[in-house]
Amino acid sequence: MDWQIFGVWLAAFMTLGIISFLYKDNVFYKAAEAIFIGISAGYWFIVFFWDSMVGKFYVQAIESPEPEHHVWVGLILGILMLARLSNKVGWIARWPLAFVVGATAGLYMMMFFVSNAMVQVQSTIMPLWETGDGWFTVFNNIVIIIGVTCGLVYFFFSKKHEGAFGVAAKIGIWFLMVTFGASFGYTVMSRMSLMLGRLDFLFGTWLEMIP
């Protein structure tokens, strides 16, 4: 038997198994799901293992002519993770957890502050009107300024949304709604092309119905 053809049939059955979930949960879906979980869990572990343990740890800390000793810290923290396997010393596994949480919080605190807050504020500062601009550009600039400020007002936690402040918050939520509606509508097309890809595989590659 030709393995190429076997591969196509296998892929076709997997595809149909997943699609059948749209009707209801069934044996084919369960089978596809079971295979998917088993294989992908193994796959990613293998990839991470070779990549991190061999590609990064072994190469940098042991094989390299100028070994990087600090990589061992990672290994030690990793081994501490395994303490969870025992009930007695399980609490030691909290150390690597605490390390990860602290590092993530510390690292991303400044990163988000700069790339989200500061960069966005800076790029919103723009002239409302410049020589040569049409009325529409001016209008658009005003819309953006109002949208950003009112959007921020909506997120205020410590002030009641009432009076003028309430109106601004209301406008803010409207802007958010436009954002959500527009992004939803915009992505529909790319979602369709995904399905086209699968149908193209089923009708074209598998059933050979498309010339």
């Binding site: 998917f36 992908s40 990839v47 990589v71 390390f99 949480v101 502050f113 959007g151 939803f184 890809g197």
Partner: protein, 224 residues
């Protein structure tokens, strides 16, 4: 004690990394953390993968529910692990585990890839059912959501031009496809920015609470 040390670790590591961006000699510490993290994650998988095997073994042993499918999962897991650890099909042992011709690559191309792209493609159906249900003019907010989505959807089809093509050139912004472009670049941009700025500030406050140890349920309790 069991709790104090982890809280201290979080605070110290967090504080150090917050300030690391300001000191040239410490600028690469963030990358070091990613490296450590990758190694920790591999060890953590022994717990995760172990949990996976345990859960399905128990199902099989107790013949509970869909236990037959658990056998499938276990076998699939075992085969992939073996094929990957011993690099089945690999010509050169030093080559990548997913290199051309390996079992891992075949598994990926013929099983994982079609399965995940089909799962992804289900979105086409869910986008339709969600639009049917969610885009209803229930109140003012929902109506705005509906109108924005509707204009963008129309703008992406010939229908939009068909309906508003008669609008004269000097006011062509009111033609639906052009209006759709504007919504994406005007109000949509403003909304996105407001969200991003908020997120930036939210992360700062949350990180501070974690580093100060105000929020520490994730570290478990003193009791055991």
């Amino acid at each position: 004690m069991k709790r104090l040390i982890p809280v201290l670790i979080t605070s110290i590591v967090g504080t150090v990394l917050v300030f690391s961006v300001f000191f040239p000699m410490a600028e690469t510490w963030g990358e070091d953390f990613s490296l450590f993290f990758d190694i920790i994650a591999v060890f953590a998988f022994f717990l995760g993968g172990g949990n996976l095997v345990r859960v399905h073994l128990i199902k099989v042993l107790n013949k509970k529910g869909d236990w037959k499918f658990s056998i499938v999962t276990l076998i699939a897991f075992a085969i992939t692990l073996t094929a990957g650890l011993f690099k089945f099909g690999s010509v050169d042992i030093a080559a990548s585990v997913t290199a051309e011709g390996t079992w891992m690559q075949t598994i990926f191309n013929n099983i994982i890839a079609p399965l995940s792209s089909t799962m992804y493609a289900l979105l086409a159906f869910f986008v339709a059912s969600a639009s049917y249900r969610a885009f209803r003019a229930k109140n003012r907010e929902a109506t705005i959501l509906l109108i924005a989505a509707f204009i963008i959807l129309l703008g992406r089809t010939p229908l939009g031009m068909f309906m508003t093509g008669w609008i004269p050139e000097w006011f062509s912004i009111a033609q639906i496809p052009n209006l759709a472009v504007w919504i994406m670049n005007g109000p949509n941009l403003a909304g996105q920015r407001a969200i991003l700025i908020g997120v930036g500030l939210g992360v700062v406050a949350m990180s501070l609470r974690l580093i100060l140890g105000m929020d520490r349920t994730y570290l478990g309790s003193d009791h055991d």
